[in-house]
Amino acid sequence: MKKTIQIPLGSQHISLLEPIRFKFECENEKIIGVDADVGFVHRGVELACTRSFEFKQVGYVVARVCGLCAITHSLSYTLAVEKLLGYVANDRIKYLRMLMVELDRIHSHMLCLAHTAENAGFEALFMQIMGDRELIMDVQEAISGNRVQFDYISIGGVNRDLTPELVAMIHKNLGVLTSKIDALIGLFDNNWSLSLKYKGVGVLRLEDAYTYNALGPLARAAGLATDVRAETSDFPYEDIGYKMILESSGDIHARNFLRLREIVNSITMCQNIVNNLPVGEIQEKAKGKPNGEAVVRVEAPRGELFYLVRGSGQNMLDRVRIKTPTFSAIPAMIEVFKGAEYADAPAILASFDPCMSCTAK
């Protein structure tokens, strides 16, 4: 008699926001084998960037790779092209770009926390976090004019400036959010039923994080010190109070907690940016056509985002290569699933913060 049963999950499922399909091989309640299929939303952005769009437009096209970290996509592309053009942005532009990236990180982390709560069966917490998240969405809308796809960064600068009213609003909303995040930290730490669902569940060990190339919050929750913000010098992150945050246990609880603490750090950074904004132009001329090859790494909310741009002095680029952090997270995710209970699968999945649009491009 066959000992195992196969349970499919996806590609359309109540607990999944995204089309991804898993085939779980289960022995009683334990998962012993996983098969993941991620290609449902492949659209072919990379090819279109070199065939149908000019290099000035591509920044807005790659933003549509992923709605959650749109700003990091356009930022990395813009940085790569600016490297090829030999242009270095002034401090005000750098600070404004950092501000948007950090705001984006806050809202993306909050969405992930909300999802983990929902998939652990805590619907009210989902609603609460989504409600608090609107504070950040309002700030983003006020700064850039759109809630999700900002199109804020262009080659040679940013598209809008901060006004004194905006600064006041940022301070007000971030202040309110700080107290809410503090309350959430207490809740995630002390709530007994949440700890049943999170503590010791879905553990990614440090060696596995090394072996399977985990990135971003995943790796940091397992104790692997990797953060592009600390490794590159494209942006003055030390000046605005960046701290590397590490957890050690590597379970869902650690990942949630790491995200919460990163949100606190990002709030501090945003406040520092707004307080110490240098003066200068927000849009400068970056002349010429990209010629040569450039590689850029940026820390997206989910980990290291890698861009390679190659041009040959023409309006059209030769190659745009995008490597997203969510794609690298899949081997680690499969490893974590093995040995877990089937009932925990949605919560584990949500704690990895998957984004299929990034993964499949």
Partner: protein, 176 residues
């Protein structure tokens, strides 16, 4: 409370499917279900089950691999049903138009009742679209509920007796 009377009639359940979107419109749909915009006050609940849903919210320009699932989900929703296409890329392909793996909009595959513009479509627009969708749903259910009466005669089609044309809708009396 006159404003809410139209919405009391039906509490529509929503099925959401991502047919290759960038997730931008998906998180806006989530945001419109969350406390600030609160779609749930109209009785809207997000379900994962096509057999219980009334409104089909689709995002994304339909990728090559999602089309069969899209049509399958659509055909599993019981009548009457309303399809709402959220986002520019769902309506026309938007920024993805012409890419090699996308099909330029969902109306090539399933009939759409309400289009929502915007990249990303804002929650206000999504709420508007759902309210509009409710009207369409109301009209469609009225259409279905119209009584039938056997007026026609039994015919022979292809040498077989057929009762297909016997049933006709009861029309209101002509004003003559």
């Amino acid at each position: 409370m006159k404003f809410f009377t139209p919405f009391r009639k039906k509490s529509p359940w929503v099925l959401h499917y991502n047919a290759g979107s960038c997730n931008g419109c998906d998180i806006e749909i989530l945001a419109s279900l969350a406390p600030k915009y609160d779609l749930e006050r109209f009785g809207v609940i997000n379900t994962g089950n096509p057999k219980q849903s009334d409104i089909f919210l689709v995002t994304g320009p339909v990728t090559y691999r999602s089309r069969e699932r899209l049509v399958e989900l659509y055909s599993q929703i019981p009548e009457p049903k309303v399809v709402v296409a959220v986002g520019s890329c769902t309506a026309t392909g938007g920024v993805f138009r012409g890419m090699y793996n996308v099909e330029d909009g969902i109306d090539r595959y399933i009939p759409v009742d309400v289009y929502v513009p915007g990249c990303a479509a804002s929650p206000q627009l999504i709420i508007d679209a759902l309210v509009k969708g409710l009207e369409v749903l109301e009209a469609k259910s009225k259409e279905i509920e119209k009584p039938f009466k056997l007026f026609g005669a039994i015919e022979t089609i292809h040498n077989k007796l057929s009762r297909l044309n016997m049933a006709t809708k009861v029309e209101p009396h002509a004003k003559d």
